[in-house]
């Protein structure tokens, strides 16, 4: 039996990155929104296990999209979904 499986390489799991506080502020400013208006992601989500996130962090997700190639999506870390 192999050790812990690394799921981040899975074809269905896009790249997740944690944004710094400055980057986060910049994005909220740019779209003129508050954190609560963004889509959410559970802090226990397997895809962000290794990012060491806390509540309120902003996760940048780079998806592959059939319509526009690469699309960028943001999710806020929440306690539990």
């Amino acid at each position: 039996m192999s050790e812990e499986i690394n799921i981040t390489k899975h074809i269905f799991v896009p790249k997740h990155t944690k944004l710094t506080e400055e980057e986060k502020e910049k994005i909220l400013e740019e779209y003129n929104i508050s954190l609560s208006q963004l889509p959410k992601i559970s802090k226990n989500d397997p895809a962000i296990k290794e990012l060491e996130v806390k509540k309120g962090d902003l996760i940048k997700i780079e998806r592959k999209s059939p319509t526009i190639g690469k699309s960028i999506f943001y999710r806020v870390v929440v306690g539990n979904a």
Binding site: I7, K40, A47, R75
Partner: protein
């Protein structure tokens, strides 16, 4: 020749696939630099005008785009009945299953990809036997109750055991673990299962016999069937039943491409983004099978909506519709009286921010030209001037 410098200016403004299309066709027509710029400008203009405008009712458009073809699908379903291949939920039932986000789906399936192609049939068989669940009832040739001694005698099918590469001791152990209150031993090639009860009655022994038949011996629990399927040049295993975690633990299984059609299983193992992708793939698979064409954007929109909370919410009154802020909007979907009674009991306020509730009370809806009053709000949250 294509002017890459020129193309770079449009990067970020026009999506990559469109630029790639341009690249392909511009070489075909042998355009010079000036012509290329002209085409790209036109392309940018077209792209900008085809974007969705603020205040556009995309939800309704999506609902219509799904509703019309899926009505057609229901009408046509019966003509297609009886298609062979493994038994899978298809058509409208499956679509409802996906969008309602049912926890228990009718036919969970896994698509197991392998790291390397098996060299021969024996290797393939060995792999399948690791995945497929084998119960005691699959490997016995006889099981009976010895009334005299009040125990159960099990005779195993030796040749079957050899085929599946299972040792008798393993079986013995598996039975012992499967149930409390029994004692398993071997005697003259028979397995003897003795109940360890204070009072041994015949019905109790029979009950144990039935239970013991279902004892898990080998493979992964819940996987009732594994079929090798050739897709393009790759051999993949289709498994009926879903248990991703355990399958991924097997070394020969490629953990980067193996998937399940159970959305909740995908969230648990791969996270919310993978689940979103599964919703998209599974629903487009159903629609494609039926020969229906629904724009990918509609499907993506629903999937995004179902996954915004970080978990999976179905399009039901307990899912995304139940999360609506407005009492009237919720009441207009399903079980109106329950919603209205609960709202009045807790003294809820309806701020009339959205569409449905405004239609109900005969007011202009905040859509299209009715929206701007919301957009031009001058203060940011926290009172900071903007």
């Amino acid at each position: 020749m294509i002017d890459e410098g020129l193309l770079k200016e449009y990067k970020g403004k026009v999506p990559e696939p469109l630029l790639n299309d341009f690249r392909k066709h511009a070489t075909d027509f042998n355009l010079n630099k000036k012509q290329q710029k002209e085409v790209l400008d036109k392309l940018l203009e077209r792209y900008m005008t085809s974007k969705i405008h603020p205040g556009e009712a995309i939800g309704v458009i999506t609902a219509e785009s799904f509703g019309e073809p899926s009505t057609q699908m229901t009408l046509r379903t019966f003509h297609l009945a009886g298609v062979a291949e493994a038994n899978v939920t298809l058509g409208l039932p499956r679509l409802i299953e996906i969008f309602d986000a049912r926890k228990e789906i009718k036919t969970p399936m896994m698509e197991i990809h392998l790291k390397s192609q098996p060299k021969d049939d024996r290797e393939l068989e060995r792999l399948i036997s690791m995945i497929k669940e084998i119960k005691l009832s699959d490997i016995l040739s006889e099981i009976s109750v010895n009334i005299l001694h009040m125990y159960i005698e099990v005779k195993l099918n030796k040749s079957r055991l050899r085929d599946l590469q299972i040792k008798e001791e393993e079986v013995l152990k598996a039975i012992q673990v499967s149930m409390k209150n029994i004692e398993v031993s071997e005697k003259d090639g028979l397995l003897i299962i003795k109940p360890k009860l204070k009072e041994i009655t015949l019905p109790a022994v029979y009950a144990i016999k039935e239970k013991v038949k279902l004892a898990h011996v080998k493979g992964i629990e819940g996987i009732s069937q594994v079929l090798p399927v050739k897709r393009k040049d790759e051999l993949i295993l289709m498994a009926a039943g879903s248990s991703l975690k355990k399958v991924l633990e097997i070394d020969a299984v490629d953990e980067t491409t193996t998937i399940s059609n159970d959305i909740f299983e995908m969230v648990r193992v791969f996270g919310i983004e993978a689940a979103r992708q599964t919703i998209i793939n599974e629903s487009s698979k159903v629609l494609n099978d039926q020969g229906l064409e629904i724009d990918a954007r509609h499907i993506m929109f629903i999937s995004d909506l179902m996954t915004t909370t970080g978990g999976i919410k179905g399009v039901t009154r307990s899912g995304i519709t139940g999360e609506k802020e407005s009492v009237l909007a919720r009441a207009s979907f399903e079980t109106p009286i329950v919603h209205i009674i609960n709202a009045s009991l807790s003294g809820e306020t309806d701020y009339l921010n959205s569409v449905v509730e405004n239609i109900l009370i005969n007011q202009p809806v905040p859509l299209g030209t009715g929206l701007p009053s919301l957009v031009t709000s001058m203060k940011k949250e926290g009172g900071k001037k903007k």
